[in-house]
């Protein structure tokens, strides 16, 4: 008994239905919501981008050090391990998480159709957050790293971040309770899940690894339960929520299938959180734990393929729009990478593949395929949509947008493809005891130099984006000029209304 309008409600973001365009409605309400988000969203985006630049520099230094070990070797605080770890923590906690929070805030307000509530709470969360990352990364560079992957920030920094995550979860729940739009769009399921899952994961890991460490290899189990879920239950849901929102929004067309969205969401919720032990295949843990995680990893095919089909059939017939909308271009790049990263992840979890790829650069390539080619690209796409709306200004430079897209798109392909291949060969060589270890090291060198080149392309893209954002902010202080209406770069409603 679903009528036409109910079907649409299930398949389109609420603000597309009531905020203009498709069924008329009022743009003023959307503009009011966007304006209410301006300060908090800009806080998270701008501090996130500052950390991105820091993380990019650290990444380049680490990359150079790995093929030229004498580079900056005199300073103890800049050893490869410190720089590499500081890179991971700045881009994961400083950059990616903060952009995630900014996007979450804006999406929740838009989808709940209420102006931002409790801006003070969000501002405090942001200040705590940046304090936590600063103290944490500083501690890592000074030698206080815990050496627990993805949880390297010292014990005196992590509670600050935990408070911030808890405040964000509280804010999201309050917004959710006060929502004016009763219908829940698929993006909201993912966002609500992410903000509730993460404090649980982070709290558990802190208590069991830093405050009251558990004994022996239970540490490794907790470590990888946590670390894999940072990707699976924090970044992935926020990335998918964004894709589910922005693709229909930009092309002005509902999601292909409501039932596939339900299946995709619940199968991800069921299986992803059991994946972590596939990082320990062959390791000193009970076989049942590793086997359970391998099975759960293979089961990930269900949500991944479901979501891929759903996104693909939403896009079909609209690929021409990639040319005009930067948001769509980054989103589709990210959506395709999500499928590829997940398939690579499933394959690497299988025992016979893990035997080769574990302990090699293949895993590093996989991490960047997931965190960058999927997640970061989606976040860039979201920012291209959100920033003009919260600032009420158009992007100043199309050339910088192109430079950004092509720099990072080519950069990440040049990173992930060669490193995946190299890691596989490296693993094969390592598994042949007749090959001297130092020969394996020598084999990796030219590939590692290629990675530095890829890093330079990524860095160029980041600089272009940051310049464009800075320019956009400068425009906020200029008298308002009527924006040039760019069909297809903007709202879905523009497209629909034009038809």
């Amino acid at each position: 008994m679903i009528n036409q309008s109910q079907t649409l409600r299930a398949l389109l973001p609420g603000d597309a239905l009531t905020g203009g365009g498709i069924d008329g409605g009022n743009k003023a309400a959307l503009a009011e919501i966007d304006a209410s988000c301006r300060v908090p969203v800009l806080f998270f985006f701008l501090s996130g981008l500052a950390w991105l630049l820091a993380g990019t520099v650290l990444a380049l230094v680490a990359s150079i050090k790995l093929h030229t070990p004498g580079f900056l070797a005199g300073w103890e605080w800049l050893t490869f391990s410190n720089v590499r770890t500081a890179h991971l923590n700045t881009v994961i906690y400083g950059f990616a998480s903060q952009i995630s929070v900014g996007v979450t805030i804006w999406l929740m307000c838009r989808l709940c159709r209420i102006p931002l509530v409790a801006p003070g709470l969000i501002t405090v969360a942001n200040l705590f957050y940046n304090l936590g990352v600063t103290v944490g990364v500083g501690g890592i560079l000074l030698g206080d790293s815990t050496a627990i992957e993805w949880l390297e920030m010292p014990r005196y920094a992590t509670p600050i971040l935990f408070i911030s995550y808890a405040l964000i979860a509280v804010w999201t729940l309050v917004t959710f309770r006060l929502r004016a739009e009763r219908h829940l769009y698929v993006s909201q399921w993912y966002l609500l899940a992410a903000v509730l899952w993460f404090p649980w994961l982070y709290g558990t890991a802190q208590v069991m690894l830093l405050i009251e460490p558990v004994r022996g290899v239970v540490q490794a189990a907790v470590n990888w339960w946590f670390a894999h879920n940072v990707l699976g239950l924090w970044f992935t849901p926020i990335g998918l929520a964004s894709i589910y929102y922005f693709i229909p929004k930009v092309i002005g067309r509902p999601i292909h299938s409501y039932y596939l969205s339900v299946l995709g969401f619940w199968s991800l919720a069921l299986f992803y959180n059991w994946n972590g032990m596939h990082h320990l295949v062959g390791g000193p843990l009970p076989a049942w734990m590793i086997t359970v995680s391998i099975v759960a990893s293979v089961m990930m095919l269900i949500p991944v393929i479901t979501v891929a089909i759903n996104h693909h059939f939403t896009m079909v017939g609209h690929f021409g729009k990639l040319k005009y909308s930067p948001t769509l271009r980054f989103m589709v790049f990210g959506a395709v990478s999500y499928t590829l990263a997940s398939l690579q992840g499933v394959a690497s979890a299988v025992r016979s593949v893990s035997e080769v790829t574990h302990f090699t650069h293949h895993t590093i390539a996989h991490a960047h395929l997931g965190m960058y080619a999927f997640f970061t690209m989606v976040m860039f796409g979201a920012m291209y949509y959100i920033l003009p709306r919260v600032t009420q200004r158009e992007w100043p430079s199309n050339a910088l947008i192109s430079l950004h897209f092509w720099g990072v798109a080519l950069g990440i392909v040049l990173y992930v493809v060669p490193m995946s291949i190299m890691g596989f060969i490296q693993g094969t060589m390592l598994n042949d005891a007749a090959v001297r270890f130092l020969d394996v090291v020598q084999f990796t060198l030219p590939w590692l130099k290629l990675r530095t080149l890829a890093g330079l392309l990524l860095a160029a893209g980041h600089v272009a984006f940051v310049i464009n954002v800075g320019w956009l902010l400068v425009r906020m202080f200029e008298p308002y000029r009527k924006p040039v209406v760019r069909i297809l770069t903007g709202e879905a409603e523009t497209v629909a209304a034009g038809k």
């Binding site: 815990t146 558990t204 069991m208 460490p213 069921l270």
Partner: protein, 211 residues
């Protein structure tokens, strides 16, 4: 799916399953594993680390050695860990019960160190290797850790007994010597203590080699 409470409970329930399964259950199963006493020799394994090596473990953590070196030996027939001589048997959970921070590692930019104390027991080798890996392992991409050493003028009493023996391009300027700091001594003590080859019921060392 517009019913908030159902969504909320579903979100909490799904994560609760693996929280119980992969965090609480292993803690119950493995959290109490104790030392093993050999019935024939009365040897206790794994033995507690001496204080100096224990402090060295903190430097190993702080310097981030784990990002390039694993401390786990995979079973025979799975990878080449045993053929490469990184261990005589696979490592099992009991091997790690004395470690304050368990550093299994996930990357082998450098070789596995589970049994480095057994494979390379010469402290002088370790000092020279840490000071500049090119001395002992030409072509290595391990960064030099010269900051763990002091370069000093040779005193009246002549060259110190613990000065590093360095030749050719690695030698300090005339009249100077390179001395390990306290940290270097503790780190090397830790590296030399790394041995996970005790004969365990769950991971027996192959008989012909154990004899």
């Amino acid at each position: 799916m517009s019913y908030g409470p159902l969504l909320f409970l579903g979100i909490l329930f799904t994560l609760a399953t693996s929280w119980v399964g992969l965090v609480l259950m292993p803690h119950r199963q493995l959290g109490n594993v104790g030392q093993h006493t050999d019935t024939n020799t009365a040897a206790i394994y794994p033995a507690a680390r001496a204080g100096e090596a224990q402090q060295g473990a903190e430097h190993y953590r702080s310097l981030g050695c784990v990002y390039c070196h694993t401390q786990q030996v995979r079973p025979e027939g799975y990878g080449s860990d045993i053929e490469r001589g990184w261990g005589r048997r696979r490592t099992v959970s009991r091997d790690y019960i004395q470690d304050k921070t368990v550093m299994l590692g996930t990357m082998r930019t450098g070789p596995d160190l589970t049994n480095i104390g057994e494979r390379q027991s010469d402290a002088a080798w370790h000092y020279r290797h840490l000071y500049n890996p090119q001395i002992t392992s030409p072509g290595s991409i391990m960064p030099p850790h010269a900051f763990l050493f002091d370069v000093r003028t040779i005193g009246q009493a002549g060259r110190s007994t613990n000065a590093l023996v360095l030749e050719g391009p690695f030698a300090p300027p005339a009249g100077q010597e390179v001395i390990p700091t306290r940290r270097a001594e503790q780190l090397v003590a830790y590296l030399r203590s790394l041995k996970s080859s005790g004969d365990l019921p769950e991971a027996p060392v192959k008989k012909e080699e154990a004899q």
